[in-house]
Point group: C2
Chain length 258, copies 2
C-alpha cells in the first residue's frame, strides 16, 4: 500500500493495478437527485463506447474515509461539489459482479482483473440545486445527464434497485431533513415547496396541513417580496433562515411528512 496514493493515470493501469489504489471488493454508488420544472430527476452516466447507463460510482482509497470517498467520487464523475450526501444502504448480493451481468468492460479488461470480482457497494444519495448544477462527464463516460425518476432506463448491475432504495430513503428523510434547502433556488413560494414534497412522495398533500407542519419547524423566513408574473394572486416568497436551519438540524428535526 502506498502512503499517499494518487489515482491511476490510465484506464489500463486502473484495470490492472487498481487494488494498489483502492480497497478490493468495495465500491460506492451515488444517486444524485435534482428537482426541475416539477420533476424529480437523477443524474446518470452513459459509459463510453456502450449503450450502458449507470449511477456515478467509484472506489475507496486505502486510507480514505468512506464519506470523503463519496464526496470525491461525485466530484470526479460529475463535476459537482458542495452537495448534501447521505449514506443509505450497503448492497451485498454476491451476484454483484461484472462477469455475472454480462457487463462490458472497457477494452483491455482481463477476466482476472480486480474489477471483475464481487463488489459490495455502499449507496449514498445526494441533493443538488438543479439550476447551479452543470454536470460534466468524466473520462469513462460519454454522457452525464438528468433523467426523470419516472423514466429511468435499464441500468447496469443492480443500479435500478439501488435507485429505488435511495428514493425510499429520501422519502423517509423528509421527516428529519428539510430537503428544500438543497433542491430549490434560494427564494421559493409555499406552493413550490409543497410541489417538491409531493413529487418526492408521489402523492398529493393537504395544503393547510403541509403549510402548518413546515412552518412549525421554524426554519423558514417569509420575505416581504411576492412572486410576480403568475396568473393567480402573487404568493409570498420564502427562504430558509440559515441560523435557525443549522440550529434545528443540530437539535434534530422530527416531522411526519413521509
Amino acid at each position: 500500500m502506498k502512503k499517499n496514493p494518487a489515482f491511476p493515470t490510465s484506464i489500463e493501469e486502473f484495470l490492472e493495478q487498481g487494488e494498489q489504489y483502492y480497497l478490493p471488493h468495495l465500491s460506492i454508488d451515488c444517486v444524485v437527485f435534482g428537482f426541475h420544472d416539477g420533476h424529480l430527476k437523477v443524474l446518470l452516466l452513459q459509459l463510453s463506447n456502450t449503450n450502458e447507463w449507470c449511477l456515478p460510482g467509484g472506489f475507496i482509497q486505502h486510507t480514505e474515509p468512506v464519506d470523503d470517498a463519496a464526496v470525491r467520487i461525485v466530484f470526479q464523475r460529475t463535476g459537482l461539489r458542495n452537495i448534501y450526501l447521505r449514506q443509505f444502504y450497503a448492497f451485498g448480493d454476491p451476484s454483484r459482479q461484472r462477469g455475472k451481468d454480462k457487463l462490458q468492460m472497457p477494452k483491455g479488461a482481463k477476466p482476472n482483473s480486480w474489477i471483475m470480482k464481487r463488489f459490495i457497494t455502499i449507496g449514498y444519495w445526494a441533493l443538488v440545486e438543479f439550476s447551479k448544477a452543470v454536470p460534466i462527464p468524466d473520462q469513462f463516460s460519454s454522457q452525464c445527464g438528468w433523467v426523470n425518476v419516472t423514466k429511468i432506463p435499464r441500468l447496469i448491475l443492480d443500479h435500478n434497485s439501488i435507485l429505488d432504495k435511495a428514493l425510499q430513503s429520501l422519502r423517509i428523510s423528509l421527516n428529519d431533513y428539510p430537503v428544500g434547502k438543497d433542491l430549490l433556488t434560494e427564494k421559493f413560494t409555499m406552493p413550490e415547496l409543497q410541489r417538491l414534497y409531493e413529487t418526492i412522495l408521489n402523492k398529493k398533500l393537504d395544503r393547510r396541513n403541509f403549510q402548518k407542519q413546515i412552518l412549525s419547524l421554524e426554519i423558514l423566513e417569509r420575505l416581504k417580496e411576492k412572486k410576480q408574473g403568475g396568473a393567480h394572486k402573487s404568493p409570498f416568497l420564502y427562504r430558509f433562515d440559515g441560523r435557525k436551519y443549522q440550529l434545528a438540524l443540530k437539535k434534530g428535526l422530527r416531522a411526519s411528512f413521509a
Copy 2:
C-alpha cells in the same frame, strides 16, 4: 478462493488464513436489542482472556449474501436464531483498524495478519424476545450477556458509536416497523406496549395519543382475557394479528412515533 468455503477450524487458522474464507477489509457488527423489566438491553460479548467488551460481529464469506452473513454471525456468536435483523449503516473511518486501537488480539496474531488491516463494518440491529433468548458465548468469548443501554461499558474500536447509531435507527424505525411483535411476549397490555415505546424513545408519551396511533395501524387484536394480578384495574391483553401484521408490513406502515 474455495468453491464451498467452510470456516477456519482453529483460532490460528482464522488469524493466518482468514482471507481464504472471508472477504478482506469487511466485517459485520450486530446490535441485538432485548426488552426486559422496563429496560432496553443490548447483547455484549466479553473477549476471552481480556477485559474487553464488544458487539457480536464477524466476517462475510466470499460467496455469501451480506444479509445471510449477518444472520449466521448472530447465531454463531450468540446462539440466537429466527430474529428480526435490519441493516442500518456502514462505518468507514480509516482508523477502524485493530493496531490503532491497541486492541489486544488472541495469542498468535501477527502484525501482518489480515485481521490487523483496516475494516469497514456493516451494522445491523436485531430484535429478540428476551424471555426466549438464552445467549451462548462462542469460542472467542468468555461471556455473552445483556446490558442495559444506559449502562454500556467502554467497548472496543468504535463499537460505542455503532451502538448509538443503532439506537437512533431503531427509534426512527418505530414509524415503519411495529417492534413490539419481536420484543414482547405473545400477549401484552397496552401500558406494556407503551412502556416499550417510551423506553426506546427515552421519553413519556401521551396515553391516549399512543393508543389511538397504535390501534390505527390495525395490526393488534384485543383478547377477551385480562391481565390478572396487578394492583390496579386489570387491563385488557392484546396480541399481534399475524395475518394483518404481514399484510400491513407488505403494504408499508407509516406512523409518527419517533
